[in-house]
């Protein structure tokens, strides 16, 4: 028998499923931008394989990295998109006046993101494998913690993005979309962290995905993977989730205390 908590979490997921089912405009972005990235970086990787004398295989090095970074972005945007649906439809009063707790609501957003990002990853991987011969098998077992770390970090940033929009108002959603692009220079998606100036490196080592890309780069260069470094990445990602959840709960309580939640549709949020 399904308990009330599961029922409430499933309601958030079901809402998202209904929206996707009823709107091709929502389904297309799950794959379209990723497909463009796969095609673009697939050809760049193929070209570099032809002209570079380093002996490196650029397909797992660059295309694989792009694919994993897109996976992280999908996870993060999966959480925020499900939240934005309530922002856009001015649904906060209806949703938060139900028995649902903030934990159940955030869990619903996360489950929605898990489903959409997994679907996106499968399509991306299928395309990259068919067109450019990319195989995650090239990363060995390290791909599993790598995906887990990126997934956890995506969830964390998604929850943080929701907290920012809840606190600053609907207009703040434009601060959320570019977060992956802003972070990508720091986490070394395309180059080693050592390439960066010292102050950027200091930031990099606080970000969980840096450990993923450093280790996957090591693997493709034929060096052994450091499981300890991946462990640090996992711990940082878990800490990021705890911090993001704390921030969301704080913002939610502030919104309930100040009346922001009851009149959220207003643009005059402060």
């Amino acid at each position: 028998m399904i308990g009330p908590r599961v029922r409430r979490v499933s309601a958030v997921v079901l809402r998202q499923a209904y929206l996707l089912r009823g709107s091709p405009a929502r389904i297309l972005p799950l794959f379209a931008w990723v497909a463009i990235d796969v095609v673009l970086w697939g050809f760049i990787s193929r070209y570099l394989n032809l002209v570079a004398a380093s002996g490196l295989d650029f397909v797992p090095l660059l295309l694989g990295a792009v694919l994993l970074w897109d996976f992280f972005s999908r996870v993060m945007h999966g959480v925020t998109m499900a939240f934005f649906e309530d922002v856009w439809s001015r649904n906060f009063l209806n949703v938060f006046a139900t028995p649902m707790t903030t934990g159940e609501y955030v869990s619903g957003l996360v489950v929605s993101a898990v489903l959409t990002s997994t679907l996106g990853l499968a399509v991306m991987l299928g395309l990259a494998t068919a067109a450019f011969g990319l195989s995650f098998a090239a990363y060995g077992l390290a791909i599993l913690p790598a995906l887990l770390i990126l997934f956890l970090f995506g969830i964390a940033l998604g929850i943080l993005g929701c907290a920012i929009v809840l606190r600053l108002g609907p207009a703040a959603e434009w601060l959320i979309w570019p977060i992956p692009a802003v972070l990508s220079p720091f986490v070394g998606v395309f180059y080693p962290i050592a390439t960066l100036p010292r102050w950027m490196q200091a930031v990099s080592w606080l970000l969980a995905p840096s450990y993923v890309f450093e280790q996957l780069r090591a693997l493709t260069a034929g060096r052994p993977v450091s499981w300890g470094a991946l462990g640090v990445g996992a711990l940082l990602a878990a800490a990021a989730i705890v911090l993001a959840a704390w921030a969301f709960v704080r913002v939610y309580r502030h919104a309930v205390r100040t009346g922001l939640l009851a009149r959220y549709s207003a643009e005059t949020v402060s």
């Binding site: 309601a11 079901l14 209904y18 309580r253 309930v256 939640l261």
Partner: protein, 250 residues
């Protein structure tokens, strides 16, 4: 749970924004089967009070018990017994009527949600709109969908903020009769706000007049005007809105 106690008990409820009180120490109750009108001019504190009862606004002081359950301590349990409809809280327009009702049915923990949705679609004459996007319905039809949402969990406490504001007179009359029937039959407590004083006289057993966040008057809407030397409830409302101090004098 207190089956014989009030459905809603509000005690010394306060909400202040900075130094300004929006709700200033009000206490009232709603008994089983009773429809209580919460009246007052714009800015009197009605919506603030309703927001606090819905758990989306934290009181500065005071307490709220729904069906005997302390809202501050056992929020989910209290809100399982509550639901609301308000003109300023439409359901998402990008979901169909049945999708919206299914989602909210799950959120309110309704067990056989599909059967409940079908029953409410039939009861509120919404069957023809089952697969229509809620956003393309007329305002009156959307109000009926919102009311169906409000009845999904057969709430012990129903909060209705101007529920008939966008309904034509025939549908509004039918709706009032329906809510009176449900309240009497199922012992539901209803808190009803409206600016339509004829509607209030017809539907409410008791009214509370709010002014500047305080309850100024309380009583039977059919007798209250006479007790205060006014010809009608509308006259009394206007007095409350314009000269509340005149009513405070003994």
């Amino acid at each position: 749970m207190t089956a014989r106690g009030p459905i809603l008990l509000v005690e010394r409820l306060c909400k202040t924004y900075g130094a300004a009180p929006a709700v200033d120490g009000i206490s009232f109750h709603v008994a089983p089967g009773e429809i209580v009108g919460l009246l007052g001019p714009n800015g009197a504190g009605k919506t603030t009070t309703i927001s606090m009862i819905l758990g989306v606004l934290a009181p500065t002081a005071g307490g709220i018990r729904i069906d005997g359950i302390d809202l501050a301590r056992r929020r989910s349990e209290a809100l399982e017994r509550t639901n609301f409809a308000a003109v300023y809280a439409p359901l998402p327009g990008n979901l169909t009527v049945s999708q919206n009702l299914t989602v909210f049915g799950l959120l309110y923990g309704v067990r056989d949600v599909r059967a409940r949705v079908e029953a409410l679609l039939a009861a509120l004459d919404l069957v023809a709109f089952r697969d229509t996007k809620t956003g393309v319905l007329s305002s009156g039809e959307q109000s009926r969908v919102t009311l169906a949402k409000a009845m999904l969990n057969a709430p012990r406490l129903l909060l209705l903020d101007e529920p008939t504001a966008s309904l034509d007179p025939a549908v509004a009359r039918e709706l009032r009769a329906r809510i009176r029937g449900v309240a009497a039959r199922e012992g539901q407590g209803v808190l009803w706000t409206s600016h339509n004083m004829r509607e209030v006289e017809e539907v409410c057993d008791r009214v509370l007049f709010l002014s500047h966040g305080r309850i100024l008057l309380e009583g039977d809407p059919r007798r209250l005007p006479g007790e205060h030397g006014r010809a009608s409830l509308e006259d009394l409302f206007i007095t409350v809105a314009r000269e509340p101090l005149a009513l405070e004098q003994p």
